[in-house]
Amino acid sequence: MALAAWMGPMAAGCRSREPVRIGIVVTDEAVVAAQLAASRINATGGIQGRRLELRVIADGGSTRASPALAAADALSSDPTVFAVVGHSNSSASLAAAQIYNERHVVQIATTSSAPLLSKAGPYTFRFAPSDIHQARFLAEQVLAAHGTPRTAMFFVNDDYGIALHAEFRTRLGRAGVPVVYDAPYSHEELLPDPAATALRVAETHPELLVWIGRALQLRQLLPELRRLEPGLPVLASDGIDEAITDRNSAGLLNGVRYVRLVDPDAARAALGELRQRFLPAAGLPLTAEAALTYDGVMLLATAARAAGPEREAIRAYLADVGTRRPSYEGVTGTIAFAENGDPRPSYMLAEITAAGPRTVAPSAPEESP
């Protein structure tokens, strides 16, 4: 009895010194940003005196469900993990969100924009607006810049691309934009014959190429297509805003305009500081996903400091951000959540140049539908 009485406070003390953890399921670059955020948190006292640690499961940007489900299962089964930042794309986030919501683990999806994620559950929050809004933004850009061009379109045949493509195609149809080529592709595979594909596109005499997908396959197709259709404007969705875009060493993507959620090069002090820390740590410039991941970790830490590192407390805290609580001012800007966990839509148009992406048309934030 005496031993138990003596051991009780000891055990409580031990528990009080145990670290708390945030699960990280993002790309490798974003993991670096998360680590920077954790360092900052721990440098400023941790979370209620406890060290913040990251449990990182790098997904490499895979859209497959299998690794996403495995990661979600592992993280949600870890009682020290009170929240997760990830996953890095819509398919993975949608697959994992079901587990997080079943097991009451807060998930902040940084770049997942599939409309279905708005219905994933109360434990799912995200920084990327629903693609319903991006489809409209893209359609507006098409009409504004090109009128009603003969449009050739590729879309990645996953949860991200299917939904955005369907909404965008509908809007183009309403606007009378002729779609002369429309083909899906697989994110998990390279284009089997980019030259033939480019030739088939060129045969439709497109005036605009819309790319709803990621940068890898676009980098395959674009050189072939530009050889056949030089000067063909390319408008891409936010899917290409990834590290590979910044590593545009060959200039393959130059001239491509795309939708941006965050401008990592924006003149914001906190962002600038993060850029300075990130570059030496990651060996490449700060990406949008990395910046959003940094904000995700910082927001979760802020919530844990205020409400405690408990899953339900974190969820309640985040649900109030921007409504019953003040919005969170992150390095990427003001973060606020709607009732379904979505942010207010805000996009900008960027163009890839030899010096890197640059914002050419910032957009005013839209009201949530």
Binding site: R64, A65, A95, A97, Q98, I99, E102, N157, A183, P184
Partner: protein, 678 residues
Amino acid sequence: MNRGRSLRQLLLLGTLAFALAASLVLVGTLVLFGSMMRHLESDANLHLAEQRAADEIATSVYGQILAAYKQLGEPSAPNRERFEALGQKAYARLREYLFQSMPIAARLEVETIKEQHQALEVVAHQAFDLIARGESAAASARVAEMHRLTERLQAAMARFVLLRERELQQQRAAQVARFERLLLGLTGVGAGLIGLALLFVRLMQRRVVEPLGQLAAAAVRFGSGDLAARIPAQRHSELEAVARRFNEMADSLQEGRVRIERQNLELSESLRSLERAQQDLVQQEKLGAIGFMLAGLAHELNNPLAGILGNAECIAEELELHSDPSIRRVRQELVLPLIRETGRAGDLVRNLLQFSRPSSSELVSVNLKFAVEVAAGLRAYAFTRAGKELAVGIPATLCVVAEPQRLEHAVLNIMSNALEAMSAGGGTRLAVVAEASGGDWITLTFEDDGPGFVEPARVFDAFYTTKMVGSGTGLGLSLAERFVTEAGGTISAENRPTGGARLTIRLRAAVAPPAAREPSEPERRSRVEVDLAIAALLPARPQAGLTAEARRVLIVDDEPALRDIQRRFLAKAGIAVLVAQDAAEAVAILQREPCDAVVTDIRMPGEMDGLGLYAWIEQHLPHLAPRCLLVTGEMAASSDPAEFGVPPERVLAKPFTREIYVARVLAVLEEACSSIPR
């Protein structure tokens, strides 16, 4: 006061508790069944929806595959649009699984199906393009890829269906287990309710039935006469009130019964007293009749006794003068004893007269010695004849508060009792003594040396007797005890240590008459006895100045023998005598001839008796009234001369001796009666 919950509260609480428990069980059962039904319905709907979705997915996918092959063989825009539409439908259905709860493995299969489907669509699009461009070789490669993807898709779908089947089986098993648990729980709850009901019944039995049984048992016992039956204290106010009321009623009835029994005893005692009083009255009536008979008998005896006595005296007187010694010896041996025994017979008759006179029913001062001697006089001969001694030693000054006649009767009864006991069981002597005890009380003690009492404590019980049947009534000592008690005294009986019986009477001492002297005979006795006293005194008185020749006395008596005796007595004394056989003749004589005195019998036949004659004399010859002497053998009160204003000194009782008779007549003639002390 209330030591516990009231019965009404208990019943109400029990009923409410049981109703609440039953309601809870019912509601819980309904809720559980409702939940199970909803769950089952939800599951069924879910599975139906899933089945429909799966069917649609399969249909769409296979439709897409068919459309794809059709498109490959015969490309057309509608077919491609159909391919696209089926793809969208399949995707939409697959995404519905996102929001369904399912195991990770199943979810993984769903995601795999989605991914395979998406890959199939991509390859199909690529094949379409190649066919459209006529690149059959390349298209064939994509078709082969389509085949591969289709197989993988089918495999994924098969795995998913298998998983869902397993899950359904698990769910079914879970539902069965849940239902079994529910049944088990309901059985347990039912058993609990039955137990609760049994407990409630037991509680009711202990708190209601058993107390009611006690109440019924007490009522039965009470009804069967056990008035001590009571109901023990109860725990509930209602039963406690019933028990209290019952016990109060029982107390009241018991008290009433005790009261009634006491009253019955009192009534029985009163009845016995009444019976005793009735017996007393009967006895008194008997005694009265005996007394009346004795009075008549005394009258009838006194007349012949007076004749015998007078004639015997005459004979003795004649024989005394005879010269023949043998003749004179006859006087001495025969006539004088005759005179003596006749006198004793007269004494006995007087005692009978005294004993049988009516009671005054008043407590007065009674000379104890006289009263005892009256009784002793009545029983002296009997004692003598029986060879027993009756010794009376009572100071003449002791007076007690009593009714004289009842005192005499009591003493007589005690003496008779003692005589009979001694005659039957031995013994020779009865001693009667008295003494003052403590100033206020006189103790009268009777002691004999006979066999003693058989049961001293019962000798005063009415009709208690140890004599032979017909020898006694058993009322003698009972009447004595009654008399003593009513006189304020006590009476006790015991056996003497030396043998024999002792009977002790304590009576209140009475104040003696003002002149503290021994009462004279005339004072102590009735008027009928005055002549005896006078007779006792006259020999001491001188007969100064009396000359017989100068006097003429009228003798009135209906008895010829007595007329002749009286005539002889007076003639011997030298007094002229006129005789009349009744009052009428006497009146005629008195109207015709002068007389100096009149000696008349009181009781005579005819319209006028002696008293009537005396009244006539007072009226017509008042000077002669003081010189009348009334002779009587009566005992009845109605013959009391005082009622006619006759002084006692003018009454002469029969029988009388010549000496007394002559002396009284001479006294009347000399009008000297007033000098006779009283």
